[in-house]
Amino acid sequence: AEAAELRARLRAVRHTVLVLSGKGGVGKSTFSALLAHGLAADETKQVALLDIDICGPSIPKIMGLEGEQVHQSGSGWSPVYVEENLGVMSVGFLLSSPDDAVIWRGPKKNGLIKQFLRDVDWGEVDYLIVDTPPGTSDEHLSIVQYLSATRIDGAVIVTTPQEVSLQDVRKEINFCRKVKLPIIGVVENMSGFVCPKCKNESQIFPPTTGGAEKMCQNLSVSLLGKVPLDPQIGKSCDSGQSFLAEAPESPATLSYRNIIQRIQEYCEQHHLQEEKIM
């Protein structure tokens, strides 16, 4: 009966993309937010952003929604809308103060994730983007399990160039394979820095073992793109603004836009293939 409830709620979701890493602090939430903004730029599309990082929910701040509350209605919990076509849900909205620690063990976290999926009234959604915490644990197992009621188009895996990140990301790729979650591709963040003054390029996080490019080659996954470091990215996140809108000329914006387009194409293609099969 529970599975049927989830299926019903998620029936109106056309595409679902999970944003994963394995490593913390590589830019999952940043990327999830920009993916959501990028897809919602098309006003005919309805986009939903679900933040299941229960211990460290970054999405409210990044989307400029800190302090917002969740409202309940007859049809369920209402997401918080950034734009008419972009709705957000996060445990951050349920905390009475942003500094409250959510010190929960796995089973309680799983319960909340299930509630998010079952009780949030998303309405008709073209793209559901799910931002996850680092690791391969309760949250990740649960979201894959609960979302089996709908179809997950795939996972976007985020990394930075250094081996200490890649070694965790390889585990995440293996996790995806283990749970049969398709991998749309890998995004390499913090990939070089071009000084705006002297235009010299520096590798702040040197890819000592070949970076995401080599890893993708070795593991036969797609490299969706590399995004250079831009101090404006962190600033935009802190101020809750869309970096794509604040810095349209940045090389990082160009990279993000290309990556978002590739993800869109992947999802659309997937849909066509499925329809053919049916």
Partner: protein, 161 residues
């Protein structure tokens, strides 16, 4: 139990390295702190309780090491220039380094308890405990298991944003 007490009985100070946020440099700091304390002549151990993303073995170039058991429990891997820093990490228990540890809370808790009480640390001045990001199973279990012992306190790591 007396066995549990014994393995940490010789440890004078336990320091937790925490954050909440990932990717801010907890493991890096834990490693550098251990190396600096060793350099100052202290007997040091590192316990890596990041089960999903154990970074310490690679940072100390022992990612290919294996661990053994003795009568009093797990024998740590000895690292550093003079092989005098004792390290225990789940990284050592993985058959292949790319294997994901895809465990739910209860299984993680059981392993952490074992790590804390079953490692034959011997006499140490400092045991540095590196943790994963968050405030969940690993953190609750680690603090619970360490509380009866000489828990000095926590160092919190962040970045500016």
């Amino acid at each position: 139990t007396s066995a549990e007490r014994a393995n940490l009985a010789g440890v004078r100070h336990i320091v937790l390295v925490l954050s909440g946020k990932g990717g801010v440099g907890k493991s890096t700091l834990s490693t550098e702190l251990a190396l600096a304390l060793r350099h100052a002549g202290k007997r040091v151990g590192i316990l890596d309780v990041d089960l999903c993303g154990p970074s310490i073995p690679r940072m100390l170039r022992v990612q290919d090491s294996a661990v053994h058991q003795c009568d009093s429990g797990w024998v740590p891997v000895f690292v550093g220039q003079d092989k005098a820093i004792a390290l225990m990490s789940i990284g050592f228990l993985l058959e292949r380094p790319d294997d994901a540890v895809v465990w739910r809370g209860p299984k993680k808790n059981a392993l952490i308890k074992q790590f804390v009480t079953d490692v034959a640390w011997g006499e140490l001045d400092f045991l540095i405990v590196d943790t994963p990001p968050g405030t969940s199973d690993e953190h609750i279990s680690t603090v619970e298991a360490l509380r009866p012992h000489q828990l000095l306190g926590a160092v919190l790591v962040t970045t500016p944003q």
